[in-house]
Symmetry: C2
Subunit: 595 residues, 2 copies
């Protein structure tokens, strides 16, 4: 075998401009077929596919070589580019106007027959794809995902660098803190009985870096959470992590809007309209029943409590009297919904805790068809229709319950109906900020307030006085960036004043001593000159998934794990030697025997 592998061109980039040129190509055999005494090879590399023609008259001995090749063989071809006959031009292929006439063909490596086709849109079982990930990643659509991911992170770094941010690596072997999600632990060999934790995020370190005067930090950081995995969760995930000093929330949001505009323009040629829309948390919950509203369509939640007041419908009346609320959405033009589908929707809202669903179908003559219509006067009905801006042909869906339940159920129903009615333009990119989150939520189990984000989040200045008196009414300087109904990033201005920090600890039931015990070194650090600062983090996997229009984050991660946190390719996690455990001063209490 020759060592000289220098390629002259990439397969997928050859165009008719190259006609007549001598080229050397390397790649994988995507397809081989024999026709009229010739052998045709679709040769694939990262850039795409080009057709090779092996003619015994041109290729000499290499023709025999070509006869032996099979799919996924790795070959090297030297030959001449020529224009195809008009009749054989393939308009579906970027290189479809030309072909390469092989003069020399060499097999660099043979290949067994792959367990699935190396092409886009296969419907192979995902577990098989994960086991043979090296073949799955050879499929052009998967390569495109990884290349997009590379482009996006490159653009992010370019933007952050241009704006004076410094990428700083923070430790992976860190300290376990009992707060937050479950830690992945790493036993220490040198310090018997002690453990490191893999970071759930670089939160503490990035705040420490602000105390250290770095002013503008970022990192594309691996994070770890040992939680039971849902569809879009991975044990390890990546975030773009950012922190700035001497700024307010608006400064950070503006900087991040610029980042998104830069990344989407650079990676996809899409222009984003700035500034992004801002919604308070209250408004988002009220109008969309969600703190991450999908704004690509309307169908907003409307409050019917006023319109249904004083009717004969006791169910609504009782709920409203009990502090509940009646809200509705108007599914335009869907009055003809089948009864069976309506029954399904009752079940659907049930998942979100709603005890029932009421509906009104607005007939073509303007009359209302509804099991509950009889409880309402003409005036009531007219008011309801007006409130919902309903016209003939529309369907109004009602949920009445505690406000939180109504928001959750009707918010989910809104999304579901939009999908069914195909109201969502998949090409739209609708960004928004949701701001002014409640600072605390009341935890019924623990009978105390807990921080909605984390206890270092700063309360709004105007709410500081209520920290001691009415913590439930305090809002935080927190902000989430939402794209097409997905939270892609979130953060806050942090507390930098000791007195405010103490008030917040008090509000969540911590004495200053307890706080010291839990957050000791960080509290110490903050006493040596902490600047005002804030930041946020973007979930990179999810962002790339949206950009690549995939349904699973596993499609934008090179080597993801299954829902049981295993790697099907390497068989991690695996058994280890007893000796390894002894050295780490631990013992497995429950070992599955393989035999």
């Amino acid at each position: 075998m020759s060592d000289s592998l220098k390629r002259s061109h990439s397969c997928g980039l050859l165009t008719k401009e190259a006609a007549g040129e001598q080229v050397v190509l390397c790649g994988w055999v995507a397809k081989r077929r024999d026709h009229g005494g010739l052998i045709f090879v679709d040769l694939r590399d990262r850039s795409g596919i080009v057709q090779i023609v092996v003619d015994p008259d041109d290729a000499g001995n290499s023709f025999t070589t070509a006869e032996a090749i099979r799919s996924e063989y790795v070959i090297k071809v030297a030959g001449k580019v020529r224009l195809r006959d008009a009749a054989t031009v393939n308009p579906n292929l970027a290189t479809g106007e030309i072909e390469v006439v092989a003069a020399d063909l060499e097999v660099l490596n043979a290949a067994k027959t792959p367990p699935f086709y190396i092409q886009d849109d296969i419907d192979t079982d995902e577990n098989l794809r994960l086991k043979y990930r090296y073949l799955d990643l050879r499929r052009p659509e998967m390569q495109k995902n990884l290349i997009l991911r590379h482009k996006v992170t490159k653009l992010m770094r370019d933007y952050m660098d241009k704006n004076g941010f410094c990428e700083i690596e923070t430790p992976m072997l860190t300290k376990s803190t009992p707060e937050g999600a479950r830690d992945y632990l790493v036993p220490s060999r040198v310090n018997p009985g002690k453990f490191y934790a893999l970071p759930q995020s670089p939160q503490i370190f990035k705040q420490i870096l602000m105390v250290a005067g770095m002013e503008r930090y970022f990192q594309i950081a691996r994070c770890f959470r040992d939680e039971d995995l849902r569809a879009d969760r991975q044990p390890e995930f990546t975030q773009l992590d950012i922190e700035m000093s001497f700024v307010d929330a608006e400064d950070i949001m503006e900087m991040m809007e610029g980042l998104m505009a830069y990344v989407f323009e650079g990676a996809m040629g899409k222009k984003i309209q700035l500034p992004m829309q801002r919604l308070t948390w209250d408004e988002a919950m009220d109008r969309f029943g969600s703190d991450k509203p999908d704004l690509r369509f309307g169908m907003e939640l409307v409050n019917m409590s006023e319109a249904v007041k004083d009717s004969d419908f006791k169910v609504f009346n009782a709920i409203v009297e009990d502090g509940g609320v009646v809200k509705a959405i108007n599914v335009k033009g869907y009055a003809a919904i089948p009864r069976r589908e309506l029954d399904g929707l009752v079940e659907f809202v049930g998942i979100y805790g709603a005890k029932g669903l009421a509906w009104m179908q607005i007939q073509e003559d303007g009359s209302v068809k509804s099991p509950i219509a009889k409880f309402f006067s003409e005036a009531h009905l007219a008011n309801i229709l007006k409130t919902a801006a309903a016209e003939p042909g529309d369907l109004i869906l009602f949920v009445a319950d505690k406000p939180a339940v109504v928001a959750q159920a009707l918010g989910a129903l809104r999304l579901e109906m939009a999908k069914r009615r195909e109201l969502i333009d998949e090409d739209m990119l609708t960004f928004a900020w949701v701001v002014d989150f409640p600072m605390f939520e009341y935890n019924d189990e623990e009978k105390r307030y807990v921080a909605m984000h984390h206890p270092f989040t700063a309360p709004r200045n105007e709410d500081l006085a209520m920290l001691a008196t009415d913590p439930g009414k305090v809002y935080a300087k927190a902000y989430d960036m939402v794209l097409n109904g997905t939270e892609i990033g979130g953060g806050s201005i942090r507390i930098h004043r000791r007195d405010v920090q103490n008030e917040v600890f008090k509000a969540i039931g911590l004495t200053e001593e307890q706080a010291k015990e839990k957050f000791g070194f960080m509290m110490d650090a903050f006493e040596y000159g902490a600047p005002p600062h804030g930041g946020l983090a973007f979930g990179l996997d999810r962002l790339i998934m949206i950009m690549a229009k995939r349904d699973s984050i596993r499609d934008v991660i090179a080597f993801p794990k299954t829902q049981s946190a295993s790697c099907l390719m390497t068989q991690a996690p695996n058994d280890v030697d007893e000796k390894q455990l002894r050295e780490l001063h631990i013992r497995a209490t429950l070992v599955k025997k393989d035999k």
Copy 2:
């Protein structure tokens, strides 16, 4: 406190061009002093320091505020830039020609007195610096190190991107393999009794990515080795990891030379002469006694075996007859070395296993002063001097032993003498490639050959035939990049042919079945069309350390660990709850009680 923190300028970037301008600055109080009824504040941010003058006439109430500030307080100052009087210009300060007259001064945060000075060149105990890392990192020289690190990684990514490399993240939760260094293990909660390992390097994944057709991969990757820590080792470290398909060793070396030139030019304005010098491993060992020779100075090892042949000095004769070798270095102009220092050198080479050191001091009249001179004839002495290119005033140092011992002892002595004689120009950057490493080394304990790099390294084509017959003579397509006597990167062309891989496994005493068991999924992957490929990895921490001219990699890592693998700031590793261990199905066998 006002939310509006918008700074107009960075402290360290204000020049006389800004004279007359209104500015708003934020930063830390580096120094405050009172003089002539005025308060002078050195205000520091990431960019540098500027002098603030607080005059009661200009500052009004802010003068009282200024009276209360102490070192490391965080303040905001609004004021006007003015030129300093010629007499008070400070030429040692970038901003020394101007000062800012404060109109308004606000304390953003107070600070306790730091345990050490926030300035360069402190000789504080490193443990104190590590405990208060947030203060240590506030020192300008430490900030510069982190900013340099950011710049270097940015430049690396720019270069790799320009050259078609795709940055791909590989998993941190991987499979434990019994090869190589000791793994850090992570117990799995979902898979009881099983463990992940943190990666020692992304080696297997990057080769898998080549099989996956990614062609050009890189990653700035965190790696982990649970080894006893020497001065320049950390439990977690960072490498620039690279792999390419369809290339030979020369292609990779050329690409990497371009990278270094780009990075050194971009980060430090230093031009590197290309191509870099190439030395075979044999030549490096022969001439410099090291596989990472420092080429900033000469003092090469010369072989004296021929020159001392047939003398009356039985020690040399016996060693040479026994397969040993006599080599020497010429320390120019150091004939006047004190006797005590010579005795010290005997001890010095003893550390490296040499049983003795001989010397010859060449007197001004050309005569030789040496305890062993009497054993040599005039002709012998003349020949020795000629071989060493020795002149009056020179000192020749001899070591005679087995070739490996001579190389090690004399290689170390060469470096030591260069330091003592101050022969090393600290501003020089001397790069070289060391190539053609031996493929195997014989392991006396295991009585078998083991791979010098790893068993996936490709042998040289011309040596393939010797794999079965004489493995000790096989050289590998391996290459290390050396800078100023430090190995900064290393890699190899990998085996992609199954038959060659089998031969290599045989040479290290593995049957094909044992190999399958150890490297199963990787061997599988290689049967589905593996392209010819190779790569390398650079140790980022060490490279930055050299660029920053620091003696410790801890100075270029934001949050390093001590030699007992602890973080003095966060107290990681720490004790964890029994509940956490129970959930992970492990038990600590040795728990230090804190009480």
